[in-house]
Structures are given as C-alpha cells and as structure tokens.
C-alpha cells in the first residue's frame, strides 16, 4: 500500500538536452534510496500540468511521427492527454473510465469491459505516476544513473503485455526526481518517446477537467 498511490511524477525544469548530456548511464548504486527519495518527493504533489512532445520512431522505415500536446494529472487516478498538433484529440482516464474526443466525436469506454484499454490505462497511469517499476509481478525493473539523471528500465513479465511491449524506460531528473522522458519499446523494434516540459505543480485543476470533454 505504501507505494500504491505514493509515486506521482514531478516534471523537470531543466532542459532535456542538459540532463541527457551527463555521461553514460551505469548501474544505480542504491535503488532503494532512489525509491525512498522519490516516494517522499511525490507525496506532496497533488496536480501536474506539462507540455509534451511525443515521437513515434518507426525503426525499419527510419521515420518519426511527432505529435505535441498538454498533459494534466490529478491525484489519485485522473489523467488528461490533450493532443494539439498535428490534430486535436483528447484522452481522459478517470478512475477506470476512459473518455476520448476525436475532433467532434466523443466516446466513453469502460475499461473493465475492455482488456486492451485496461492494460493501456494501467501502463500509462503507472508510467506517469512513476510507480510502474514497483509492480514486481508485471515488470522486471533495473536501475541506472549518470551524473544528471536516473533511468529505470522495465521488462514486462506477463505474457499479454510482452505481446506489445518489450521494454519501458523512465528517465528522472536527479535533482528533483521529476520524470523527464518516457520511452515505450515494442517487440518489432518501434518505440515511442515522450519528452515533458514546462511543468506546473499543484495548480488548481477542477475535477471537470477530467470528465467527458
């Protein structure tokens, strides 16, 4: 229970390029201290607002699909991904229910009746809360660091997850333990990288923000 809702990400204030130029990553000396520090840092966070840039890398085709948008989080289980470029699309995850708005078309999906969305929801929420690597039954986690950042690599253990995810990588800023980058690797070699920027912590986010758009 200690970690169930304890980890909430805090986004970075330093540039991504600065953090990623801090030398090669080596095995983390003390992962337990990292987890403890992260738990303490995220306990105070109620809401997060941030911009994101998402890059889908098609390895075989050497192409990238880049999308941008705004990310909102509110404790305990409320997420809003609002894509603004090159299209408008909203995904809201609110305690087991998923709302989407695709241009003018609105949908409501009860994820308990939809295994695929339930899994995606679980992964996304776990990633943005930063507590995904604590689920030892679902993932095998390994911890790395350099002078500027921490990296947690997670390999899925459950067969149904392995079918569409080979690894998840979460990068944390070493100063404030905020999540600065999320990477999702697929078995075929494609991967999606999400970089977060311009975060605001504990602003007032009304519950209506996380209802059907």
């Amino acid at each position: 229970m200690k970690y169930k809702y304890g980890f909430v990400l805090i986004f970075f204030t330093f540039s991504v390029s600065f953090v990623f130029s801090q030398g090669p990553l080596t095995v983390m000396k003390n992962p337990e201290v990292f987890k403890q520090r992260f738990s303490e840092a995220t306990r105070k966070t109620q809401t997060i607002e941030a911009n994101f840039t998402q890059e889908k890398n098609l390895s075989v085709l050497s192409d990238k699909i880049i999308t941008k948008g705004r990310f909102l989080f509110k404790k305990e289980k409320k997420l809003r991904w609002e894509y603004t470029e090159p299209f408008h699309y909203v995904i809201i995850l609110n305690n087991g229910t998923m709302f989407t708005q695709d241009e003018d078309k609105k949908s409501k999906i009860d994820m308990r009746n939809n295994k695929m969305f339930a899994e995606i929801n679980s992964i996304i929420l776990g990633c943005v809360q930063g507590n995904l690597f604590n689920d030892e039954q679902k993932f095998l986690s390994s911890f790395f660091e350099n002078s500027g950042s921490f990296l947690v690599k997670m390999k899925p253990l459950a067969p149904n997850l392995k079918e569409y995810l080979s690894e998840i990588r979460i990068y944390f800023d070493k100063n404030d333990l905020s999540v600065i980058r999320l990477e999702m690797y697929e078995p075929a070699g494609d991967f999606t990288r999400i970089d977060f920027s311009g975060e605001k912590i504990n602003t007032n986010l009304p519950d209506e923000t996380f209802l059907n758009p």
Partner: protein, 212 residues
C-alpha cells in the same frame, strides 16, 4: 513448345494493351480533353503520407494514425498506431506478397487481415490486370461508372468526370462481403479523406489526411 509460346505472348499483349486502348477510347468519347482514366488512387510518385483515422471492427473502435509509405517500386508499408504511439498493425504489400510485420493480438484474425490486404491493395496499387471495363449507369451526370474485371476480381469504379479521379471502388459481392472504398480529395496528390467499409465483416476505416 516454342510455337505455342507465340500465341500466348500475343494474348498477353492483347490483354495488356486492349483494355488500355479501350479505356483511352472511352475517355475520348466521354470526356474529351480530360485526364485519362486510371486505376490508380495514389500516383506513382507517391512517397509517404500521414493520416488521422479510425478503425472499427466488430465492437472495437480504434483511433490513431495511419502512416503509408512506399518503400520500393512495388512495396508499400501501412502502419496504424494509436495516439499514444502503440502499433496496432504494421503491414506490407510487396508485389503479390502480404507481410504482417506486427499486429495487435486482438486484431490478428485471418479474415480481417485478408480484408485489409485486399482493401489496401486496391487503395495503394493501380490494377494492372484489368481485362474488361464496361460503362455502367450513373444517376449523377458528374460521375462516370465503369464495371471492371481484373485478376483481382470484379469492381465498380466511379470517376469524377471533371477531374478524372477515382472517387469510389466497390467490390462485387463475395464470401468476404462487399467492400466500399470512397475517396475525397482536392487537387492535391493524396486523397484527403478515405473511407473503407465492409458491412459483412463489420469493418469501417476512416482516414483524414494530415501531412506528407
């Protein structure tokens, strides 16, 4: 053995040139001075395009991005991923081959993949095996309809009279149902909207052009 090759060669030549001259003849007769009819929706100079889209199959409603890319003269890659970047399917049409590079487990059904193969082949590659094109009736004076027979099957092609572009392809009824492929576009190379449906299988694909 050598003698029998000659008539076969002539037959092949006739099948290749015959429909073309017939089509050109129809073109001259019905839309003089306009763009010749073609069985290509995407021009041969097509390189790649990104579409926002959705795919409905049975009770699944999937939304995301379709990325189409020509990887060689006779090969096209079709990647459909959700907005978060997870790949639903990555397919390749390569000559007569159909390669499934990856596919979400719940979509990996033979009937669906076969339909996707046929439908995207119709969309991405011009039919070079046409053996017969017969004018059909159109209730709209701005449209021309042709009944087409080829090695791929039997189709109804609907053309916009002014632009000479294909705006609809309907397959004939079969065990796989009837596919209805509709295309909207402006003067740009790529269609701006693509709609594919098959009521028998319960498939609907909607695509809206985003960028090259």
């Amino acid at each position: 053995m050598r003698r029998s090759l000659i008539p076969k060669s002539l037959l092949v030549l006739f099948l290749c040139i015959g429909p073309l001259s017939w089509i050109m003849g129809q073109h001259e007769r019905t839309v003089p001075g306009q763009i010749p009819y073609t069985t290509a929706i995407f021009d041969s100079s097509f390189e790649k395009a990104l579409y926002k889209g959705s795919l409905d199959i049975s009770k699944h409603h999937l939304t995301g991005l379709f990325f189409l890319k020509r990887v060689s003269v006779n090969s096209v890659r079709i990647v459909f991923s959700n907005e978060m970047g997870m790949t639903f399917f990555d397919l390749e049409l390569k000559g007569d081959d159909f390669i499934v590079h990856s596919c979400f487990p719940s979509l990996e059904r033979a009937s669906l993949l076969k339909l996707l193969k046929n439908d995207f082949r119709l969309l991405m590659f011009p039919d070079t095996t046409v053996t017969r094109m017969k004018p059909g009736r159109s209730g709209d004076s701005g449209l021309l309809i042709f009944r087409v027979k080829s090695a791929r099957g039997s189709f109804h092609y609907t053309y916009d009279k002014d632009s000479g572009k294909i705006i609809r392809i309907q397959t004939s009824r079969s065990i796989m149902g009837r596919t209805d492929l509709r295309i909207n576009g402006d003067k740009r190379l790529e269609p701006t909207k693509i709609y594919i449906s098959n009521s028998t299988i319960g498939l609907q694909i909607n695509m809206t052009f985003l960028s090259n």
